[in-house]
């Protein structure tokens, strides 16, 4: 038995040094050398400030911007640490809603959002625009969900719809190799492109 204990201790500790320190630390260094942008979180800088990450969605409320999907992330309640309050796109606490398909809370939330967006039976809202993502940080919306918002954003910015449509098309990514995944629009990149349009 003592033999097993010694072997266990030695293997565990030496494996911890190899797999728990050497492996992740060495790869941190190699990653930084080979893929510096990705290793640091694909951050987007503007005027010397970090405005976000191209992989992480952010909360948009202004009608001058395209909106991402609803987000179910939360944060600790500042008044009571045992409770949480809604905090959309909290990138320090990823989470989905975990509402089941027969949940009254889900149906009520979707009904309210469909109402706000002006959806109806003959003009249904794309489903991703009224459902929360798995992470609460989904950076994308479907091309249909972007198309849905074009008119409103063009109006708020006083731009021709064709110009906004062109930006949406430029920021639409297809399937990887034409097969994998789904077509999508990166909301933050699209909104940055909108802001970059010359003022008129």
């Amino acid at each position: 038995m003592l033999r097993h204990i010694r072997a266990s201790l030695v293997i565990l500790l030496s494996m911890t040094v190899l797999l728990g320190l050497a492996y992740p630390l060495a790869l941190t260094g190699v990653s930084r050398a080979l893929f510096p942008a990705q290793a640091a979180g694909s951050l987007i800088g503007q005027d010397g400030k970090v405005v976000g990450s191209s992989l992480i969605g952010q909360n948009f409320t202004s009608d001058r911007y395209f909106h991402g999907r609803p987000s179910a992330t939360t944060d600790a309640d500042p008044n009571d640490a045992t409770k949480t309050v809604p905090a959309p796109y909290n990138a320090a606490n990823s989470a989905g809603s975990n509402l089941g398909p027969t949940s009254k809370a889900l149906v009520d939330r979707v009904r309210e959002d469909v109402g706000k967006l002006g959806g109806a039976a003959d003009r249904p809202v794309p489903v991703d625009l009224v459902t929360t993502s798995g992470s609460g940080l989904d950076p994308h919306i479907s091309p249909a969900a972007a198309a849905w918002q074009v008119a409103a954003v063009a109006k708020a910015r006083n731009l021709p719809e064709a110009e906004v449509l062109k930006l949406v098309a430029q920021n639409t990514e297809g399937r990887v190799f034409g097969v994998l995944g789904e077509p999508r629009v990166n909301v933050l990149k699209l909104n940055l492109a909108l802001d970059a349009l010359p003022k008129r």
Binding site: I11, G20, Q38, Q58, A95, S135, V176
Partner: protein, 569 residues
């Protein structure tokens, strides 16, 4: 369901089948102690481990010595990880000043990562220091996976050897799998994931100022290095709370494909290792075929359910063309979310790229059923193979009863003692799942857990104990599991689900190894053909189906009909 969806599924299956045989050959060489192309570099390291630890890798251990070595290693590993989590607040590499982890959560987490379950009652980015993630959790990701593969090899030796006293050396198996298989593959995978966008840094969380001027704190960390082994070792414990649904932990559909392949590839290759060891690769393909039948049926049902979307939302003026998108990411959509869910639960991985809790009733039932069948559809690395071989023993025993002959499997007579131990191993799973679920639904502390009301609330509890006992680790995550009651009961369920299978399984391995090989005769039941595959699938479905059908009727099946009737909870 779309054509493109099925093309993606077919592509996944095709790549997996191409990888199975070459990797099986490589794994065989490693586990038999033969030289490989990495030996010039790794052999001195391997010998260094043995010398330091006082191990003779050539010592052939009896099943009981092998078992004791494995158990002692787990007790020591548990104590180390538990202490690390309790002390993380005063240890280095903690830029976010994470506080010490409470005792019940530390117990649950340590058990979880040691048993290759990776159930998480916590959210990674809000709980764990970088040191805990790396030196604690990443290490056990490797070691629990290596243990599973080692145990599978010990079981395979039981079938392959004749008149033998031992079933191999636990320490040699553990060290060799880690050094020659898991570590090199993970180095390559880590760099691939970083290229795709997964962060790998030790910096503090980034403070961004959004376009609308709000503050956004973006969690960082050494994500890629943990992600690589999390998938390859079928561990499944996310670096972040949202696991592989998090865009940092699964940024592209290409990364997603590699993650799905990583989950299955070692488990599939082990069927080939088995075939080679018993002298006929066809025996391995037959096992893989039985797994494949169950897998494809699961994929079809889950994809069908998710692609259809939620009829309750369609009635509100929602266009369901994309399917059910609650809890799913746009870049994966319904097809890849359903496929990932089936793979991760078939293989006792437990990583998720969409929230299973928000799946349609029948879409969420498939992950549940995959786990209830005992994690034998590919299964956890190693665990899946010894799991399905136990079912093969059972199936061959049933066939023997029908024709009145002593059953034989790959040349070994299956006798009363072997069947008793096999049944012991198979029955502990329903005992733990149904026992604890029953307990939780009568106790107020248990009923406080579910986030959803009605049958879905029952499903959340049932799923949690199934996931724990089957060592999967995925969740219907609405359940509030970070409580004393759930942390301790789920912890015990994980221990039962791992070791109450392993110990009888090793006993069977020892007994089989000692038997002589009987020659193939005209009366031998062929175990490499479709008849055997059908018998094996039947045995799995009857044992799993009959045991759990009543509980499934109370959860997902009841919810499905409630949904069709328009009932809300």
């Amino acid at each position: 369901m779309t054509f493109n969806g099925w093309v993606q599924i077919a592509l996944f299956v095709a790549i997996l089948l191409v990888l199975t045989r070459p990797l099986g050959g490589y794994l065989s060489r490693v586990l038999e102690g033969q030289r490989t192309f990495m030996s010039p570099v790794l052999l001195p390291v391997e010998r260094g481990f043995y010398r330091l630890a006082g191990i003779d890798p050539a010592e052939d251990q009896s099943w009981w010595v092998y078992c004791r070595a494995m158990l002692v290693f787990h007790i020591v590993g548990f104590a180390f990880l538990y202490l690390l989590l309790r002390l993380q607040a005063v240890l280095p590499l903690n830029p976010q000043d994470m506080s010490a982890i409470p005792s019940d959560l530390s117990f649950n987490t340590a058990v979880s990562f040691l048993t290759n379950t990776n159930w998480q009652s916590y959210g990674g980015e809000s709980t764990m220091s970088y040191l805990s993630q790396m030196a604690g959790l990443t290490v056990q990701n490797f070691l629990s996976a290596a243990t599973g593969i080692a145990l599978a090899m010990a079981f395979i030796r039981g079938f392959a050897r004749a008149n033998a006293k031992g079933i191999g050396n636990f320490w040699a198996d553990l060290v060799r799998v880690t050094l020659y298989v898991l570590l090199p593959f993970c180095i390559v995978l880590t760099l691939f994931y970083v290229w795709q966008g997964v962060p790998q840094n030790l910096g503090a969380y980034v403070e961004a100022t959004t376009l609308e001027g709000a503050k956004q704190t973006i969690a960082q960390g050494p994500v890629a290095s943990q992600l690589a082994i999390k998938m390859l070792g079928t561990n499944g414990g996310g670096f972040f709370n949202a696991n592989s649904a998090h865009p940092y932990e699964n940024p592209t559909a290409l990364a997603n494909l590699v993650q799905m392949l990583s989950i299955f590839v070692i488990g599939a290759a082990l069927t080939n290792v088995f075939g080679r060891a018993v002298g006929a690769e066809r025996q391995g393909w037959a096992i893989l075929a039985a797994m494949g039948v169950l897998f494809i049926v699961g994929v079809f049902v889950a994809y069908w359910a998710e692609a259809g979307g939620n009829p309750l939302l369609a009635a509100l003026g929602v266009d369901n063309a994309q399917g059910n998108m609650e809890g799913k990411e746009v870049r994966f959509g319904a097809p890849l979310s359903a496929l990932f869910a089936v793979i991760t639960t078939a293989a006792s991985c437990g990583a998720v790229n969409a929230m299973h809790d928000s799946f349609m009733p029948l879409g969420g039932m498939i992950p549940l059923v995959n786990m209830l069948l005992g994690e034998i559809i590919i299964g956890g690395v190693g665990a899946g193979l010894y799991g399905i071989l136990l079912f093969a023993i059972l199936a061959i025993f049933l066939a023997g009863l029908m024709v009145g002959r002593t059953p034989e499997y790959v040349g070994k007579k299956i006798e009363a003692r072997d069947v008793k131990f096999t049944m012991l191993a198979i029955l502990c799973l329903p005992l733990a799942i149904l026992g604890f679920t029953g307990l939780a639904v009568v106790l107020p502390v248990g009923l406080a857990g579910p986030a959803n009301a009605g049958p879905h609330g029952f499903s959340e509890i049932f799923y949690a104990f199934t996931s724990a006992a089957a060592n999967n680790g995925s969740a219907f995550a609405g359940l509030t599991a970070n409580t004393l009651f759930y942390n301790s009961t789920l912890g015990v369920a994980m221990i039962v689900g791992r070791f109450a299978i392993i110990v009888p399984m090793l006993a069977v391995a020892g007994s089989l190894a000692a038997k002589r090989k009987s020659a193939v005769s005209l009366g031998t039941f062929p175990t490499d053909g479709p008849l055997f595959v059908g018998l094996l699938v039947g045995a799995i479905l009857i044992v799993g189906g009959l045991t759990f059908l009543p509980a499934l009727a109370l959860g997902p099946i009841a919810e499905h009909f409630a949904m069709l009737a328009g009932t809300l909870f």
